[in-house]
Amino acid sequence: MLDAFFQGAHQVFAFDTLIYMLIGSVAGIVAAAIPGFTVTMAIILTLPLTFAMEPLQGISVMLSVYVGGYTGGLISAALLGIPGTPSSVATTFDAFPMARNGEPGRALSLGVWASFFGTIISTLVLIVAAPPLAVVAVRLGPWEYFSLIVFALTIVASLVGNSLIRGLIAGVIGLGLATIGPDPMMGRPRLTFDMDLLAPGLPFLVVLIGIFAISQLLDEVEIHGKKVNHALIPKSIDFKTWEVMREVLMRPVNLIRSSLVGVVIGALPGAGGSIANLLAYDQAKRSSKTPEKFGQGIADGVVASEAGNSATAGGGLIPLISLGIPGSAVDAILMASLMVHGISVGPRLILDHADLVYGMFIALTVASFMMLVVCVASMRLFLRVTDIPKQFIVPTVMICCVIGAFALNNRMGDLYLLGAIGLVGYILKCLDYPLAPLVLGVILGPIAETNLRRALMSDGDWTVFFTRPISALFLAAAVLSVILSIRSIWKAHKKGNGNKDALA
C-alpha cells in the first residue's frame, strides 16, 4: 500500500506534471469565470490534450481544471452578481452584496478559502469513506431520489426573498420551463407549440445565463437619478487574505457541515455542485442565529456556498473510484479519460491500480493548493474588473454570455431563447420575484420527473415512497423543513422584522 502511495506521489510531483496542473488550474478558473462556460466544458476541451500523457498525469491535469473550475465561478458571482457556473448560484446571494458594500476583496477571499477547505475536507472524506459511502449512494432507488428532490425543493422557502408567494410562483415556473421539449422517459415532444426553437427543450445553461446574467446586466444600467457609467464597485478595495483565512476557520461548524453536504450530494449520481451550493446555503441559513442577515452580504453565506460546491469534487469521485459509477458529467469525462488509457473503472480499480487511485487523491490535494496559490496571486488582477466603468463591462460581459450560450450547442436558436429568457428574467427582477427558486426548479424538475415516473413504472403503488426507510426519511425531512420555514416566516412577520410583504 505504501509502495503504491509513493509511486502515485512520484508521478504527481514530477516537474512536468506540476506545470501542466498549474496551467490546468488557471484554465479552469478562467473558464468558469465566464458565464456559460462550465467546468464540464473546460474538462471536455482539456480531454484531447491529455491523450498523449501518462494516465495519472492526464487525470491530474483534469482534476486541476475540475478544482479550478469550481472556484472560478465565484469570481463573476462575487464581482458582477452573475454566477459563472450553476454551482455558484448561491454565492451571488451574499458575495455580491458584500462586494457592493465595499468589500469585494473580502468576498473573493472568503470564497477562495472556503473552496480550498471544502476541497481538502472532501478529499479526506474520499480517502477515508469512499467504499461505504459509495455503497449507500448506489443503493438509492428512484423512490429515494424523488424524495430527496422533494426535500431539496423545500429550499425554495429559504430563497424566496421578500415574498413567499412570488418565490413559490418562481419555483413552479422553473419546474414548468423544465417540462418544455422531449419528455425525459419516452422522448415525446411536449409544450413545444410546434416551434422548432423549443423542440430540443430549454438548455439549462441558457436559462441560467438569461435569468441571472442578462437581467443583472440590464439592471446595472438603470438610471436612479445618477450617471450610469461609473465602475460597478466604486470604493477602494481592502484585501486581507490571511485575516480572511482566520475568518473562515472561525466558522468550523458551517465549513464542515457545508463540505459534508457537498460530499454527500457529489456522491449521489445525477446531483452535483449546482444542488450542493444551494443546499449548503440553505442549511447554513437555517442553523444560523441571524438568518435575516443572509442575502445582505454575510460571510456565513459565502463560506457555505463555496465549501459546498467545491466539496462535490471529492464527493463525485467516491462512486467513480469505488464502483465505476460517475457522479456527474464531469466525473463521466474523467472516467472516459481513464478508459482511453485502457484502465477499466470499477470496484477492482483500487486493487489493480492502487498507485493511480492514491495518485488521484494526491493530485486532488495538490490541485486545491494550486487553485489557492493561483487565486491569491491573481486576486488583485481579478479585482481590477471592479474598476472598469460600466460602459465597457456591461456590453462586454453580455457578449461573453452570448458566446457562452452559442458555444453550448453551436445553435443560433439558443441565442434567441437567451434573448427571450433574459427579458423575462429582467421583468421578474423588476417585479421583485426571486430568481433563485426559478433556477432551482429548472435544475430539479427533470430529476424529479424522471425518478417519479421510473419509480411508478417499477411499482405503481404510491405508498412505497413512505415505506422505504431512506425515502421516508427524506420526506419527513421535507415536511419538517416546510414547517420550520413557515414558522420562521410567521415569526418574522409577527415581530415586524421582515418585510411586511413577507407572506404576500
Binding site: 414548468g176 417540462t179 440590464l218 444600467v221 460602459q391 456590453p395 453580455m398
Partner: protein
C-alpha cells in the same frame, strides 16, 4: 423648507402608496399572464397521449406543475387586487408607471439593441455584428463625447474581432461567420 412643500410626510406617504399600488398593478398583470399561460399549458399537456408502459404519461407531470402554478397565480392575484385597493387604487398606479419606464429607459434600449444584434448575428457574422453592438451600447451608457467615442471604438474592435480570433484559434469554437464577411 418652502411653502410649496407644506406636508412632506403626507406627500411621502402618498408617493409610497402610489409606488406600492404601481408595483402591485405590475405584479397583478404578471399573475394574470402567468395564470392564463398556465391554464393554456394544462390544456396542451392534457392533449398528450397516455403511455401504455407507465402509469404517468408525458403529460402528467407538466399538468400537475401548471395546475399548481395557476392556483398560486389566482391566490396572488386576489391578494394583489386587495393591496391595490388599499393603496389608493388604479389612478396613482397608472401615473407612476411612466416614471417606472423612464428610470429603465437605458436598460430597455440596451435590450432592444441586444435583440437586433441577435437578429443580425448570423447574417453579418460575429465580428461585425458585435462591433456594432458594443459601440452603440457603450455610447448609450456613457453618452457621446469625443473621448467616449474613441474609447468605445477601441474596446469594440478588441472585443469583437479579438474575441472571435481567440475563440477560433485557441479554443476551436467557431462563432457565426455570416454570409457577408467571413472573418
Amino acid at each position: 423648507m418652502t411653502a410649496d412643500t407644506p406636508k412632506p410626510a403626507a406627500a411621502d406617504a402618498v408617493a409610497s402608496a402610489a409606488t406600492r399600488a404601481r408595483n402591485e398593478l405590475a405584479r397583478l398583470v404578471s399573475y394574470i399572464v402567468f395564470g392564463v399561460a398556465a391554464v393554456y399549458c394544462v390544456w396542451r399537456a392534457s392533449s398528450l397521449p397516455t403511455s401504455r408502459w407507465e402509469p404517468l404519461g408525458a403529460g402528467s407531470f407538466p399538468k400537475l406543475v401548471f395546475i399548481v402554478l395557476a392556483a398560486l397565480c389566482l391566490f396572488a392575484a386576489i391578494k394583489s387586487v386587495i393591496d391595490i385597493h388599499r393603496n389608493g387604487g388604479m389612478p396613482e398606479a397608472v401615473y407612476a408607471f411612466g416614471r417606472w419606464l423612464k428610470i429603465r429607459r437605458i436598460s430597455f434600449a440596451i435590450y432592444g439593441l441586444l435583440v437586433i444584434y441577435l437578429g443580425v448575428l448570423s447574417t453579418l457574422g460575429f465580428s461585425l455584428a458585435t462591433f456594432g453592438f458594443l459601440l452603440i451600447a457603450q455610447l448609450l451608457i456613457a453618452g457621446v463625447t469625443r473621448r467616449t467615442v474613441i474609447q468605445s471604438v477601441i474596446a469594440a474592435l478588441v472585443f469583437s474581432f479579438g474575441l472571435n480570433m481567440l475563440f477560433a484559434d485557441v479554443f476551436n469554437v467557431f462563432l457565426p461567420r455570416g454570409v457577408l464577411i467571413a472573418f
